[in-house]
């Protein structure tokens, strides 16, 4: 990592409160190109809120937020040097725990809708991209099927393809295997692993500790709305400094 490289996302002293409840409390984070950042921590530690702040699905209460060096404004449209929430979101893809596929659209339409409506691509281009992506996630033959007819693992792979169709600079994955039957987790992790090999920048919230250990370039341990510990998988998972992280990890080794 060189000194001159600009982080894709850079936040300083980010906070988020829901009413009186402060969920994030002074987050500093630089996400560098090509990184695979894994957020771990007990439930309620703020990791899901943090990842949802990274594409402004949750608007932070305060703090600085930059995307590729540009300040992000809290309005939909970009203006001047400031990038709007709309433009931020189409460059920061997100995959959800419960897939959130559009049930009234076929698999193919789920993937092409964003490029058609938001990027104003023409139909042929959008469809070609979608078919390439469907091929990559191994679901080309499901193109005309509606989401209800897919298994959880298939749905999640379509959701990943939908996010990638926007050609994002970063992909956010929020507990993407948590709602899956155990035997379907592998096929989704496989897709993520292959994406990581292509150099895709990703942030993932996960409970799959061994997956995080294998693939992440950096791990962040969160607790009570703060970043409690950060480092390589080696440092964090094998030599945890704090007692809290030790206790947290102990539950997974058991």
């Amino acid at each position: 990592m060189t000194q001159t490289e600009t982080p894709i996302i850079s936040v300083r002293d980010l906070t988020k409160s829901f009413g009186k409840l402060q969920v994030l409390n002074g987050i500093d984070l630089d996400l560098m190109p090509g990184e695979l950042l894994s957020l771990i921590g007990p439930s309620g530690s703020g990791k899901s809120t943090l990842i949802r702040c990274l594409n402004m699905l949750e608007i932070p209460t305060s703090g600085m937020f930059r995307f590729k060096g540009l300040e992000v404004r809290r309005k939909f449209r970009s203006e001047g040097e400031q990038i709007g929430v709309g433009d931020l979101r189409r460059r920061v893809g997100m995959v959800f725990q419960h897939f959130n596929l559009f049930p009234h659209l076929t698999v193919l339409q789920n993937i092409t809708k964003g490029p058609l409506v938001v990027l104003k691509q023409d139909a042929a281009e959008a469809e070609a991209t979608a078919m390439t992506l469907l091929d990559e996630v191994g679901l080309a033959e499901k193109r005309d099927v509606y989401p209800t007819h897919l298994s959880g693992g298939q749905k999640q792979r379509v959701a990943i393809a939908r996010a990638l169709a926007m050609k994002p600079d970063v992909l956010l994955l929020d507990e993407v295997t948590s709602a899956l039957d155990p035997e379907l987790v592998g096929e989704v992790l496989q897709v993520i692993r292959r994406l990581a090999e292509t150099g895709m920048t990703m942030v993932l919230v996960t409970h799959e500790m061994s997956f995080a250990a294998d693939t992440a370039s950096r791990i962040i341990f969160m607790e009570q709305g703060r970043i409690a510990e950060t480092g390589s998988p080696e440092e964090l998972l094998h030599n945890p400094k704090s007692e809290r992280l030790q206790n947290f990890l102990a539950r997974f080794h058991a």
Binding site: G93, N100, F102, P103, G114, M166
Partner: protein
């Protein structure tokens, strides 16, 4: 024993046809205007401006909590006194029916939109869609399916509500039936025939509504 005589009544069938036509026009007209009013009211209710929300809510409650017949009479006889000029019974009738059904439609539309899973809005936002884009391409297509049975039911009621226009002498089916009755002195045949005609118009509609409801339950 009563001697049924539909023949005399049926000789005035052209009068019934005039009535059916007017009933049809007032129904379609008030539903069309009502849908627009309902949509505007619905979006006002969902808006982030409190003034708009209160205004929409007040309109809805005013029309939902007073009898339609009173509204019709008020629009025709009382409203001109407020305005200072008279309005035709056609205008008063159509206006009242539209605003009345619009207040109910607004509630049906709002229910349909709120019934769409919150995750759908988030997924649309996450691929960079604006609020209006998300509403048009993601939320509305799903909401329409959810609101359709209630919408059809309200529209069935609307067909029947046009009969209240009788009170301000609009020549819809009920009014025309009273004309036939006064010409033939055959109330039993006249009003029986009117009831049959309303039934024939509405029964297919309720069947369609049921069909939609069944299909929706199956696909869920």
């Amino acid at each position: 024993m009563y001697h049924w005589d539909f023949y005399t009544v049926l000789q005035s069938f052209d009068l019934f046809l005039i009535g059916i036509w007017a009933t049809f026009i007032y129904t379609v007209g008030s539903i069309a205007i009502g849908v627009v009013v309902g949509l505007l009211t619905c979006f006002a209710r969902l808006s982030r401006f409190p003034a708009l929300r209160i205004l929409a809510r007040s309109y809805q409650e005013l029309f939902r909590c007073t009898p339609l017949l009173v509204q019709i009479l008020w629009a025709y006889y009382a409203l001109p006194m407020v305005l200072g000029f008279s309005i035709s019974n056609t205008t008063a009738g159509l206006l009242t029916l539209s605003l009345y059904v619009g207040s109910f439609y607004a509630e049906i539309f709002r229910g349909g939109i709120n019934a769409v899973d919150k995750g759908q809005r988030e997924a649309a936002a996450a691929i960079g869609m604006s609020g209006p884009q998300s509403m048009r391409y993601i939320i509305m297509p799903q909401a329409v399916k959810k609101m359709l049975p209630a919408f059809i039911n309200q529209s069935v009621i609307q067909v029947k509500n046009t009969s209240l226009l009788y009170a301000i002498s609009i020549a819809e089916l009920t009014y025309m039936t009273s004309v036939v009755n006064s010409e033939t002195y055959r109330p039993l045949e006249s009003y029986t025939l009117a009831a049959i005609m309303y039934f024939c118009m509405l029964f297919p509609l309720t069947q369609i509504a049921d069909q939609f409801e069944r299909r929706m339950r199956r696909s869920d």
